[in-house]
Symmetry: C2
Subunit: 226 residues, 2 copies
């Protein structure tokens, strides 16, 4: 369900052949051309688990979380998607997770059927769909490996992951709350907080504010990364 901004189906532009990049071009370019920009405000739902996966999305600005809620209310966050990331692409026909904007976000909304139809004609696009799913598989496998580690290891891995993605030297501005981090790592907010405090007193990181983290000793964090 699209709560904040409704998609009117008329608003989707059909790709025209003159929009297509020359064959042999990296097909990701093709994908982007087929999207409509949309805005979601903080905590707005982008789609829900089990809804038909008619669209896929590319983050332009902001951050998106995908998650599942278990019967008893526990929430597991599957991923944080940042600018440039594609999410919501399914090989099957419904979404396996829900998606929400963590902060006000802008995303490109891309019609899946158009892409799938294109893939039937264009080999490059077909391969690109496969590659994207393969990349996602790899990401989930890594995430699964995280969940068998200790709290320190999970938090260290998380910080390194965020730092790598931000590509901003050693300081990271986290867009998500402690609760989001906890649900991503399978821990509680108290454990996240204590572990960060611990890492700070070990001089591995600095915490100028609760959302800003400076990596002071990457080798130490990498050692915890196991």
């Amino acid at each position: 369900m699209l709560t904040q901004t409704q998609i009117s189906s008329a608003s989707f532009k059909q790709p025209t052949s003159r929009n297509l990049p020359p064959a042999g071009d990296h097909a990701l370019g093709t994908i982007e051309l087929m999207g409509t920009p949309m805005s979601f405000s903080r905590n707005a739902e982008i789609y829900g688990e089990n809804e038909p996966a008619d669209y896929l999305y590319k983050v332009i600005s902001g951050t998106v979380r995908t998650y599942k809620i278990l019967a008893d209310g526990r929430r597991q966050i599957g991923a944080f998607h940042m600018p440039g990331d594609i999410f919501g692409l399914e090989a099957g026909d419904s979404h396996t997770f829900s998606a929400e904007a963590i902060a006000d976000s802008k995303v490109l909304v891309i019609k899946r059927s158009a892409l799938v139809a294109l893939a039937a004609r264009d080999n490059d696009v077909a391969r690109q769909l496969w590659t994207l799913t393969g990349r996602e598989l790899h990401r989930v496998q890594d995430h699964m490996m995280l969940l068998i580690k200790t709290a320190q290891e999970r938090v260290a891995s998380f910080l390194l992951e965020m730092a790598d993605r931000a590509s901003a030297s050693a300081a990271v501005d986290l867009p998500m709350s402690r609760q989001d981090i906890a649900d991503y790592l399978g821990l509680t907010i108290e454990t996240i907080s204590r572990t960060l405090t611990q890492l700070e007193s070990d001089a591995a990181i600095e915490l100028p504010t609760s959302r800003r983290i400076v990596l002071r000793n990457r080798p130490a964090l990498n050692r915890l990364n196991a």
Copy 2:
């Protein structure tokens, strides 16, 4: 590295066009036609993590485990593959897990390059590769959700999963050891053993032998499945 049985590259048969099923056929049929049967004895390595993913595999008989070893020796089993299952298919070019036969096993070995080449011409095959990777993605997502649950829930989910796959009414013959189960569920063998004993005294299951498990009360197990 293929420790028990060596693949001689000459032994692979190239698919010929007369082997291809008619267009529109479910492409899985195509995939199987391209394979060479091979045997692996108990505990034999089929491939190792990070090795080039030149082949994919389909289990004919026996069971295969895929796994990763962390720096400190912890092992995480990613999946158990049983007859009919395809494993070792990668969208990238190297294996992200290692694979070993749990019991003496026969697998069909399929050359990836042949399949990828075929996919470039045959849309159905391309779509099938995508679907297989998508199915695997879904499986790993479910597995990840397991790892945030309690021991009882994990074991109950595991038993139900095995029972569904065996499709043999209510009795399951486990091909794997307690250690394998433990490494799949992110628990220790002692916890597996205690949890099974507990489920038995709760009359949810029966344990005629350590490898044979009879599901006595599926609703109860499903309730634990959360």
